[in-house]
């Protein structure tokens, strides 16, 4: 009998602690599968952010280092410049990447550091319990925008991939989503392309993933697809922005 699907060997036996319907687990699965396909399980270095994925080291087989909130691109810069042979994924939440770490994100991209940033855009601060993120949609209720995010008080949500794409150095900038099987496959192809560009051409790439945080969106996991299509994707259009 042919094996058509199996759990990636780059994942450990420890099951994740993410909430039901959370996209972080899906993103990890994709990275694990890609690392096996590219045969880099023992080479890949996974730089974690501060957020719901901070304590993710037990879930996979990669070497990993943690950083202070928002600082992973600077930490990875120091690492990769001194150890250029290890492929590096910098995995960040939207708050980590596009609020507290905006400076580090933009400048690592501007320098074209030879690593791949995967930004999980779930439009909230997941780990701290659902406060407004730089990506929270106008009108969206969070614990710090109890009446819905207002333009007057908070301005507009940041489209981070577009910010990165206007820089010269990034080789490949894309926004993908994890809300349907088709989108998940497209996201996988994008992350794989970014990693290949890093390995073969020492290129910086940025992959924004539209993610679900059903817990803090206060919706059932079964409602994610509809919520994404109706609310999230219209503001954060999918597709390649560069490369």
């Amino acid at each position: 009998m042919d094996v058509v699907y199996k759990r990636s060997g780059a994942l450990s036996d420890v099951s994740t602690t993410y909430c039901p319907g959370c996209s972080h687990g899906t993103a990890f699965k994709l990275i694990a599968e890609i690392s096996e396909e590219l045969d880099i399980v023992n080479k890949l270095v996974f730089a974690t952010p501060i957020g719901c994925t901070t304590f993710s080291a037990p879930f996979h087989k990669f070497s990993t280092f943690m950083s202070a909130h928002g600082r992973a691109p600077a930490n990875a810069t120091g690492f990769k410049r001194c150890n250029p042979k290890r492929p590096v994924i910098v995995y960040q939440g939207d708050g980590d990447c596009a609020a507290i770490g905006t400076g580090e994100s933009i400048h690592a991209a501007a320098r074209g550091e030879a690593f791949t940033v995967v930004m999980a855009n779930n439009q909230v601060y997941g780990m701290t319990g659902g406060q407004m993120a730089p990506t929270t949609l106008t009108g969206q209720k969070t614990t710090t925008t109890p009446n819905g995010r207002s333009v007057e008080a908070c301005g507009y949500p940041i489209r981070m991939a577009e910010q990165i794409a206007q820089l010269e150095a990034p080789r490949f900038v894309t926004r993908q989503s994890l809300h349907t099987p088709k989108n998940i496959l497209q996201a996988k192809a994008a992350i794989k392309k970014a990693l290949e560009l890093q390995i073969n051409e020492e290129a910086y790439s940025f992959v924004e993933l539209l993610c679900a945080c059903p817990t803090n969106w206060a919706i059932e996991p079964s409602g994610i697809k509809e919520y994404m299509e109706k609310n999230v994707i219209p503001y954060f259009p999918l597709g390649d922005l560069k490369g």
């Binding site: 023992n42 080479k43 270095v45 080291a57 087989k61 990669f62 070497s63 990993t64 280092f65 943690m66 950083s67 202070a68 600082r71 600077a74 930490n75 990875a76 810069t77 120091g78 690492f79 990769k80 410049r81 001194c82 150890n83 042979k85 290890r86 400076g103 580090e104 933009i106 400048h107 320098r111």
Partner: protein, 361 residues
């Protein structure tokens, strides 16, 4: 002995760092530190090292963590306002037990302050490296030569103890020219890439490098942190036995003692020489390691022999003074001679303070 050459403090320190094996520098320009950044910009390129002008001191200090995890001997340098931004990473380096060297070329004042020398960052690095109360080795040299000696061995110490090493220089020391022995190149061996905190060159078994020691013999994070930080503290206590550095100057027959560190101590030496000519028996104890603090020579000051202590410090409010006061016999009168904001300690004022003490006996 090698022939001495005339070098400015900032450049001498940078060259000696390179010869000590430093191959990574990240920094953000700030007076009076900038000559270090400019020097290493061209000099590291000559030895295939990595130089990064970072976007901020937040990023500059964070890059040290990554370089350290990659097995490089890493350096950053800054001054006051930049030090404030670096404290986040100082905390991570100390907690993650990652070796790296940080130089603060101190300038006057708080906030934006002033560009001349000062010693006002003393508490900020001797009491805790950033939040969390952890420590690193902290040195306060008073000559260019001593600055070079300390940085030459800084990574050996950093790696031995897996700790950040902090050097408090200042604007005067950074810019003054003095004869120094620019030391030979150290050879580093490849085994450093197998060190426990280093993620190896090509590929490796899984390594988990955390800036917080969550792992340990217990099942909860809080028990493990309690356990691990207790161990760190044992190391800090042991440093008091093994890593204390200080100088005693003209102490044999001293009746008055000046206690100071770095530039304030250096200026005080001129006052001591002048006072000796006037027949006043004055000497000095000069801490070189600021953490661990040289407690023993201060504890040993004998109230039957010593008639007065003058602490000379370039910080207002006083900082170092309180550490001295806590260690000396309460029966010895103690005074402080303080300046700050780039106003250096003054030889004539120091003499006057000691003469007043001596006159009032």
């Amino acid at each position: 002995m090698a022939k001495k050459e005339m070098w400015k403090g900032n450049e001498a320190m940078s060259e000696v760092a390179l010869r000590a094996g430093c191959r990574f520098f990240s920094g953000y320009p700030i007076t009076p530190q900038t000559p270090i950044t400019e020097y290493l910009a061209w000099r590291l390129a000559e030895v295939d090292g990595v130089f990064i002008q970072a976007e901020s001191e937040l990023a500059a200090a964070t890059m040290l963590l990554g370089a350290s995890i990659a097995g490089a001997r890493a350096l950053t340098a800054t001054a006051g306002p930049g030090l404030s931004l670096m404290t986040e990473s100082l905390s991570c380096l100390a907690s993650g037990r990652l070796p790296a060297v940080i130089v603060d070329v101190q300038r006057g004042g708080a906030a934006t302050g002033n560009l001349q020398g000062a010693q006002s960052d003393y508490n900020m690095v001797t009491k805790t490296l950033g939040h969390g109360g952890l420590k690193g080795l902290v040195y306060g040299p008073s000559t260019v030569e001593e600055l070079c000696d300390i940085i030459y061995d800084a990574w050996d110490k950093a790696e031995k103890y897996r700790t950040p090493v902090f050097i408090l220089s200042d604007a005067s020391l950074g810019q003054m020219m003095e004869p120094v022995d620019i030391k030979p190149f150290k050879q580093l061996d490849e085994s450093r890439f197998d060190l426990p905190y280093v993620i190896g060159r090509e590929e490796s078994e899984k390594k988990v490098i955390q800036d917080t020691p969550y792992a340990g013999p217990y099942s909860t994070m809080s028990e493990n942190l309690d356990y691990n930080y207790r161990k760190y503290n044992e190391m800090y206590e042991q440093w008091k036995e093994d890593e204390v550095l200080y100088e005693e100057y003209m102490m044999d027959d001293a009746e008055y003692v000046i206690i100071g560190w770095g530039m304030a101590a250096r200026i005080s030496k001129s006052a001591i020489r002048n006072l000796r000519k006037k027949g006043i028996k004055v000497g000095m104890i000069r801490p070189i390691s600021l953490f661990p603090f040289p407690e023993k020579p201060l504890n040993a000051l004998d109230a039957k022999k010593i008639k007065g202590i003058l602490v000379v410090e370039m910080a207002i409010p006083a900082l170092f003074y309180h550490d001295v006061k806590a260690q000396v016999d309460k029966n010895i009168p103690i005074k402080a001679n303080l300046h700050c904001g780039g106003y250096l300690s003054q030889v004539d004022e120091i003499e006057e303070d000691i003469l007043k003490m001596a006159g009032g006996k």
